[in-house]
């Protein structure tokens, strides 16, 4: 089980950003962080992030993960 904590903000609804916690079962598979985010979006379609190439060349999905930029 993976604890995923995501910085969320909907300007139409929220006064300020907040961290939202998700639980994700990787089923022992070796997943990329982006794969996890895509699966979480199916559960919560309001979760928004940029992404495109999914192979680390376009730069769309650069985010700060556990304190490191990646």
């Amino acid at each position: 089980m993976l604890n995923v904590s995501i910085y969320r903000y909907n300007p139409e609804v929220d006064n300020e950003p907040y961290m939202q916690d998700f639980q994700f079962d990787t089923q022992g598979k070796d997943l990329m962080v982006l794969d996890v985010l895509e699966k979480l979006k199916v559960e919560d379609p309001s979760l928004v992030f940029r992404r495109s190439c999914r192979e680390g060349v376009c730069g769309s999905d650069g985010v700060n993960i556990s304190g490191k930029n990646g």
Binding site: E12, K41, P45, S46, V48, R50, S52, R54, C58, G59
Partner: protein, 590 residues
């Protein structure tokens, strides 16, 4: 119905990839009021991931190289349904277009003498196939697309192109003459819908690899231009022709460039045999991609595949040496380590044919003008509408594209469209304005999604669509399976049209964008299915178990999918070269 805000331009380009930005650059330099609508920041466009290079007869590696040899290779590569005059134009104009890029600052890899580095690539020969392998693909390491895209973006910044970044074009607006007068687009950040009015609308919207479950394509490759064209009632051409790239990483689908084989790498089966020696004795691993992909699938089906499930083969590179790999293929070293957990310095990469490129698309002439077919079966220009790049079908790739020809296609025809439109604008373009009804019609799909109160989730429907395409319309096709596939798609259509948008907020709502993209994916997939089932022969990338031979008597032509009737027709291939006699179709072997 409240009317939308209107923004007016002389030219609007939908799509900020290699082709869109080359067209935009041409028009920005001309001084006409031009805007690029792009659903991602331009440098994120899928062009950025092109690896191997841009094939062009600049005579760097071989001073005796001729563009005519490149033309022959491309015509043969297309399995003879590429339009010969378009291919002639592309190969002849190519060097000019490539040197322009070099002057813009594209950081090509260089030889000792300082000339542009060219590597061998699939299907490239000297002396019309008689003189052995040619090295004609100009490269910037294995990141040529990245270099090209960033160079073009910088050029556009320099020339002050107007960018509407992270705007999603929803549908084409047509006037009462059935001419294209712009698009309705959503500003993704704010959710605002705007009518972007234009005298010339260019679709450079890229491919649609995401109709398949396993693809080298980015998430954004959803066939938006094809979908919008089909909804506007415009036909698409050769849409059954999908290239499965031989070397996508097994599992991830990530692309491993043909350049690996160009640099001396080769494919092996579970017995360590270099099996391409059997299938293509001359070109071996550098035969046309369709030939290599089919060979790999046959090896797997005949029980010589690798891995515990025997469902892939290996690409061997270790014999090239660590130094050469670091210098020439640094990108794929990283990709293989990350996605295949295989270090090419020591071990082979597990690969499998993966959906990669859409040869078909919006039919155009050499000037980029989009075409339809009138009742008598003649070509008719669609006023106000243009296409270039992967979304267009000029056709320079016919039934199979050669590696490196896509980047060339992008810049040559992006430039050609820009030049032609500049000329038209200088003569004066006068199209009837769209009425409120015309604009409302373009909003219909979006309005339906915004009003949805029940239905299924877009991501779930998308996965179902991809599975159908992967299983029924892959590397090898069969009539009865395809008919089953069409039936499944017929059942899926209403479910997709009634997709449920749960989150209807306005700020950067990507769920709404994915619901709209799903419609485009479906139209592209459906057209593919109908055209694939309809073309009763094997040619290029379209391989049928029930019609294994090429049938020049009945099918030496383009297929045309008509959205109204959802049927396919035929359109003649061009066989008129300006500089010589046309190339006659021959049996295609490597």
């Amino acid at each position: 119905m409240a009317s939308l805000r209107t923004m007016s331009f002389d030219a609007v380009i939908v799509g900020g990839g290699g082709s869109g930005m080359r067209a935009a650059l041409q028009l920005a330099q001309s001084g006409y009021k031009t805007a690029v609508i792009t659903k991602v920041f331009p440098t994120r466009s899928h062009t950025v991931s092109a690896q191997g290079g841009i094939t062009c007869a600049i005579a760097s590696d071989d001073p005796n190289d001729q563009w005519q040899w490149h033309m022959y290779d491309t015509i043969k590569g297309s399995d003879y349904i590429g339009d010969q005059e378009a291919i002639e134009y592309m190969c002849q104009t190519g060097p000019e277009a490539v040197f322009e890029l070099e002057h813009m600052g594209l950081p090509f890899s260089r030889t000792e003498e300082g000339r542009i580095y060219q590597r061998p690539f699939g299907g490239q020969s000297k002396d019309y196939g008689a003189g052995g392998q040619a090295a004609r693909t100009c490269a910037a390491a294995d990141r040529t697309g990245h270099a090209l895209l960033h160079t073009l973006y910088q050029g556009n910044l320099k020339n002050k192109t107007v960018f509407l970044n992270e705007w999603f074009a929803v549908d084409i607006v047509k006037n009462s003459d059935n001419a294209v007068v712009g698009v309705v687009a959503i500003n993704i950040e704010t959710g605002e819908c705007v009518y972007v009015k234009s005298k010339a609308t260019v679709f450079a919207t890229g491919g649609a690899g995401r109709i398949y479950a396993s693809t080298t394509n980015a998430h954004i490759c959803t066939g938006d231009g094809v979908g919008m064209a089909i909804r506007a009632g415009f036909p698409v051409q050769d849409i059954e022709m999908w290239q499965f790239h031989p070397t996508g990483i097994h599992g991830a689908g990530t692309l491993v460039t043909e350049g690996c084989r160009g640099e001396g790498g080769y494919l092996i089966n579970k017995d360590g045999e270099r099996f391409m020696e059997r299938y293509a004795p001359n070109a071996k691993d550098l035969a046309g991609r369709d030939v290599v992909a089919r060979s790999m699938v046959l090896e797997i089906l005949e029980g010589r595949g690798c891995g515990p499930d025997g469902d892939h083969v290996f690409l061997k590179l270790d014999h090239l040496g660590e130094e050469a790999l670091n210098a020439k293929l640094p990108g794929i070293l990283e990709l293989s380590r990350t996605f295949a957990h295989a270090d090419p310095v020591k071990e082979p990469i597990p690969v499998v044919p993966t959906c990669h490129y859409m040869m078909g698309g919006i039919p155009t002439n050499v000037d980029g003008q989009a075409l339809t077919i009138d009742r008598e079966g003649n070509d008719q220009v669609i006023e106000g509408f243009y296409a270039c790049g992967e979304a267009a079908c000029v056709s320079v790739h016919g039934a199979n594209r050669l590696g490196g020809n896509s980047l060339l296609d992008l810049v040559v025809f992006g430039r050609a469209s820009g030049i032609f439109i500049e000329n038209e604008l200088s003569k004066g373009i006068d199209l009837k304005d769209a009425t409120q009804e015309d604009i409302d019609r373009a909003m219909a799909g979006l309005n339906r999604i915004n009003a949805s109160t029940k239905g299924e989730n877009a991501a779930v429907l998308r996965a179902e669509l991809q599975t159908i395409m992967q299983n029924f319309f892959g590397v090898f096709r069969r009539g009865d399976y395809m008919q089953q596939g069409v039936q499944k798609l017929d059942e899926l259509r209403p479910r997709i049209e009634n997709v449920y948008l749960d989150d209807k907020s306005n700020s950067f709502n990507t769920a709404r964008i994915e619901a709209l993209e799903l419609q485009n994916l479906f139209e592209t997939a459906y057209a593919t299915a109908i055209a694939a089932e309809g073309r009763t022969e094997s040619r290029g990338a379209h391989a049928r178990e029930d019609f294994q031979e090429r049938d020049d008597e009945n099918w030496l032509c383009h297929s045309i999918y008509f959205p109204g009737s959802k049927e396919i027709g035929k359109r003649p291939v061009n066989f008129t070269l300006k500089t010589r006699e046309p190339f006659e179709p021959k049996i295609r072997t490597y």
